[in-house]
């Protein structure tokens, strides 16, 4: 007689045959194999078998389950036995997932982020803070759930084993990646953050402050970065409003001072209103002749001034208003940059990932914005620190800022001077053919803009009349472990392409599955992104509409990593070494792009190809592949796979050749791309050399590029530049202290030095 059983955790509990019968009945019902009477008969046989085998000891759970499986088969309930086995396997997986989850949470809770690589997976989340840890624990729980319940088994397996990487997997069931916020559309008429209503801003200071709030609010509705594609055009309107007010005030002051009168408010505002009505323009940084004439005429009539004097007063007012506006704009841009580096989002664990695009607005107001935001970037934060956010992206366009005779060429030059010091701006090139095809002069929404690391959203298969950057973004992306496909093909090119096509198909299916989840959400799930009409066409939705149709303006992107290692595994060398291998590289990426285009056509959705920004991924895939294949020279023998289509970072190549070889991949990767050139500090600070690189990128058809160079800072003396072992300003080595007298001496020489604590 069986009295007791041993549970998995070692506890001994009373034996209960009913529980066994109930489990058997469940399997019989699922498979449609039998009823309660059948279950009772099988359970009796299970008990008989257990009694014959266990005379004194308590059988354990696993043995009992094995016996149930056997008896189900003995009775001919094969389908029920199968269902029972599946149920057991699922329970085991869930149990294991729970164990892994608990271990992960344990690591998040107890291990210092400096030691735990997992906690540094994303460098912009501080895994040592309370909110950062909470975010990581939530992510770990969501991932375990998503893998268990939302993924098809074949997708879960591919993800688990490192064939693919599903990015932002913790947000799988929750939201989409990113958006290009049309800041003007948002501001017009005012907007609500969900915590209160904000009126349409009326000065450049409020334009800049509200732009930061818009980025912060939208970031809370999505898991990726936020971008403003029209920063110059958008802020220009705020500059115009500030100037108009300043011109009125300065003109009033000038007239009152000259005539020694008071309370000219009404008369002046009347003069300006009439002039605006007569000419159809308002006061502008560069006032039109007709406007000035109309104001002068009004002043003569209302204040009995002669025309000469009136014009003089107007000129003076205009000059002063200009200065005031420039000052306000500078402060507004400084405030904006400071805000984006200090404001918190996502439960305080991150600063928002933010990008701003500018460079093409040639109006005086737009130019004032561009100049001042560049100067704010140049100045750095309170102690001269380099700003991490926002990412600045300068849009380069012939006829606008690229040639010496172009109206914004001076700002292009300034941007390079700043980038040589601060690493930003990066450059996006509107003349590259695949960008130029969308460009319509006078319609800034047709200028390609970039968000975050590299995401690009422009073409629109779903709605070809809306091939614009504004109000759209990426929905989700998944990356393929390209080198593994190559290793598994053993140099067989045909086999590689077969495997690649199958993998593309698997990823496309997974992206579409994820889209199904996203499509069934509603505007109330995204109170800002959808509720405030930030996303294209979301302003036409009602509360009961799902998001399916409007989300189709976004992109589903297939990414990849390690083209260099893939080529090495297949052909022995990477694409930096010969033109033949460059051709092979372009064939592979071209094949992937072609797949995406066909899939887009088939689905009438935007399936695009991404040169993945591999941060956490660069190590994840290769660690798994080293376990699988060992260290294959040139393929798995480093700690990282090479980013997207890049020439390996360790390979000696000229800047010119690197740009020439990487540019054709930009044309293929329509979901986003970036190329970097590494310069030594002295070259980077040589603006001519810097410009030569940027022009080389432009002329070769790079889409998005940036120049890397060392930017170091000594927080003690505030020196920013290149620091080897010894700080060139204060002469200390890392970690060394320096004498108070020396600090005092330095402070006299460099008044901008940070007030480092501990000095009296």
């Amino acid at each position: 007689m069986i009295q007791s059983i041993t549970k998995r955790d070692g506890r001994v509990v009373l034996y209960d045959q009913n529980k066994i019968a109930a489990a058997i009945l469940r399997s019989l019902e699922v498979s449609g194999d039998g009823d309660a009477a059948d279950a009772a008969r099988v359970a009796n046989d299970v008990q008989r078998e257990l009694e014959s085998r266990f005379t004194g000891d308590a059988p354990n759970i696993e043995t009992i389950q094995d016996t149930v499986e056997r008896q189900l088969m003995n009775h001919g309930f094969n389908a029920a036995a199968k269902a029972y086995i599946l149920y057991r396997a699922n329970r085991t997986r869930a149990r294991e997932a729970n164990t892994v989850l608990m271990k992960t949470i344990d690591e998040i809770t107890n291990i210092d982020a400096r030691i735990s690589d997992m906690k540094r997976d994303n460098a912009n989340i501080d895994g040592n803070t309370a909110m950062g840890s909470m975010l990581q624990i939530g992510a770990a729980g969501a991932k375990a759930y998503n893998e268990m319940y939302l993924l098809r088994p074949e997708h879960a397996k591919a993800y688990r084993e490192g064939d693919i990487h599903i990015h932002d997997f913790d947000f799988y069931s929750l939201t989409t990646t990113c958006c290009q916020i049309d800041i003007l559309k948002l501001f017009h008429g005012g907007f609500s953050t969900g915590h209160g209503y904000l009126r349409e801003p009326q000065s450049i200071q409020s334009y800049a402050a509200l732009a930061a709030i818009a980025i912060q609010s939208n970031q809370n509705d999505q898991h990726g970065g936020q971008s403003i594609p029209n920063f110059d055009y958008g802020m220009a309107e705020g500059v115009a409003k500030t100037y108009r007010k300043a011109f009125f005030r300065r003109l009033k002051d000038a007239v009152e001072d000259y005539l020694d009168i008071e309370n000219a408010d009404e008369a002046i505002s009347d003069v300006i209103a009439k002039a605006e009505k007569a000419t159809g323009v308002t006061a502008k940084l560069e006032n039109s002749e007709s406007f000035v004439a109309a104001v002068a005429k009004g002043l003569c009539e209302s204040f009995a001034l002669d025309s000469d004097k009136a014009n003089k007063l107007i000129r003076r007012a205009a000059e002063r208003a200009y200065k005031k506006t420039d000052r306000d704009t500078k402060q507004a841009m400084e405030g904006f940059v400071h805000n984006l580096n200090t404001m918190h989002s996502r439960a305080g664990a991150q600063t928002p990932f933010s990008s701003i695009n500018y460079g093409t607005d040639v109006s005086s107001e737009g130019r004032m914005v561009i100049r001042n935001v560049l100067l704010a970037l140049d100045a750095g934060l309170g102690h001269g620190e380099t700003c991490i956010f926002p990412i600045h992206i300068f849009k380069v366009k012939e006829g606008v800022n690229y040639n010496e005779t172009d109206p914004n060429y001076d700002l292009f030059r300034l941007s390079m001077r700043v980038s040589a010091k601060r690493l930003f701006p990066n450059y996006t090139f509107l003349d590259s053919p695949y960008n130029l095809q969308y460009y319509v002069p006078g319609r800034p929404e047709t200028e390609v803009a970039t968000m975050g690391c590299r995401t690009r959203v422009m073409g629109n298969v779903y709605d070809p009349s809306r091939q614009i950057a504004y109000s759209r973004g990426n929905l989700s992306f998944t990356s393929i472990n390209l080198p593994r496909l190559a290793i598994d093909s053993n140099g067989d090119e045909k086999l590689f392409y077969e495997k690649l096509e199958a993998m593309l198909e698997l990823v496309a299916q997974q992206l579409l599955d994820r889209f199904e989840i996203q499509a069934n959400k509603h505007i109330y799930n995204y109170p800002f992104l959808m509720g405030q009409g930030v996303w294209l066409d979301s302003d036409h939705l009602t509360l009961k509409d799902d998001l399916r149709e409007v989300l189709k303006h976004g992109t589903l992107s297939i990414g990849f990593i390690g083209l260099a290692e893939t080529l090495t595994a297949l052909y022995g060398q990477h694409h930096g070494t010969s033109e033949e291998l460059q051709e092979k590289g372009l064939e592979i990426i071209g094949f992937m792009r072609n797949y995406c285009d066909n899939k887009s056509k088939e689905m009438q959705m935007n399936i695009t190809l991404l040169g993945t920004p591999a941060e956490g991924l660069s190590g994840r895939f290769i660690r798994m592949d080293q376990k699988r294949y060992g260290k294959i020279p040139g393929v798995t023998d480093r700690e990282y796979y090479t980013n997207s289509f890049h020439i390996p970072v360790w390979y000696n190549i000229s800047a010119y050749d690197k740009i020439r070889l990487e540019a054709p991949y930009h044309a293929l990767c329509n979901a986003g791309h970036i190329s970097y050139v590494e310069l030594d500090g002295d070259t980077a600070r040589n603006v001519e050399a810097f410009e030569a690189i940027v022009r080389c990128m432009h002329d070769h058809g790079i889409g998005y590029g940036s120049i890397n160079h060392p930017v170091d800072r000594d927080p003690v003396c505030g020196y920013v530049g290149i620091i080897g072992d010894v700080c060139p300003r204060c002469g200390r080595r890392e970690g060394e202290q320096i004498a108070p007298e020396r600090i005092e001496e330095l402070r006299r020489m460099y008044p901008q030095m940070p007030a480092f604590q501990g000095i009296e």
Binding site: P613, R638, W650, Y651, N708, P710, D714
Partner: protein
Amino acid sequence: MTAKSKNEKLGQGVGFERIRRITGYLVGTMDKWNDAKRAEERDRVKHGMSKNG
């Protein structure tokens, strides 16, 4: 003033900040980078300005 900076007066124990581009955005000092990206950064070589390599 933070407790940390009090204890590190005059620079004792204070390192240099080294800002680098990670994938497109910047990260304020490299101690937050994961191990693979640190290794990648270590391996980066400078690119020369000549057209012939």
